[in-house]
Symmetry: C2
Subunit: 126 residues, 2 copies
Amino acid sequence: MSNHSEAPVTPVEAFEPPYYAAVFTTVRTQEQSGYSETNARMEDLVKDVPGFLGMDHAQTPGGLGITVGYFRDADALTEWRRNVEHRAAQKRGQAEWYQSYTLHVAKVERSHGFTRAQVPQIPAAG
Amino acid sequence: MSNHSEAPVTPVEAFEPPYYAAVFTTVRTQEQSGYSETNARMEDLVKDVPGFLGMDHAQTPGGLGITVGYFRDADALTEWRRNVEHRAAQKRGQAEWYQSYTLHVAKVERSHGFTRAQVPQIPAAG
């Protein structure tokens, strides 16, 4: 929980449509024991799913969390949904960690990205 | 984590598919003057779009922001995309506020929600 990656944050890129996005919005309870470990394990596990493209996550302190997983096709999503460890984690999430959540599974029809051009450092004249 | 005393946060509910989700993931620059005001104005404006269903937002401090807007159909999204004030805000976002962003526009095929049952407070015997 306290270990934040040092690498600069970047949103997952825009892929060539069609692909899938699974939008998972959550409000957590006070009871978070075991959450971080399970969450880290899920982040590792999902990378093994053929067709997994990437994941974005944002968490407002004390507020809403949003995780978006990107998958090449419906088969990839089905494999992830059926994963035994993932199902066990979902059960525990309902029992302990989540006050409420919503899952929206959607087929991406268009997408685009923007990245600011690097501005070269010009030394000030003096 | 400080005490938040605002109204309780709730994720946007699961609607009856099909509907659209526009997933907007952002990393912001240091230059944020005018951002809050414009963001508040956009949140107001989008509510006037016929077919706008709701919006979820999460922001990791110093990290990724994710906003997901939900719309009944493609026409609603088109109306929002063409809104003149919205287009001006996008231009200013590219010029000033965003280091990088990605937009994924997707048609929701299935969705579901979970809300924890209220546990009645039972006074301890004694």
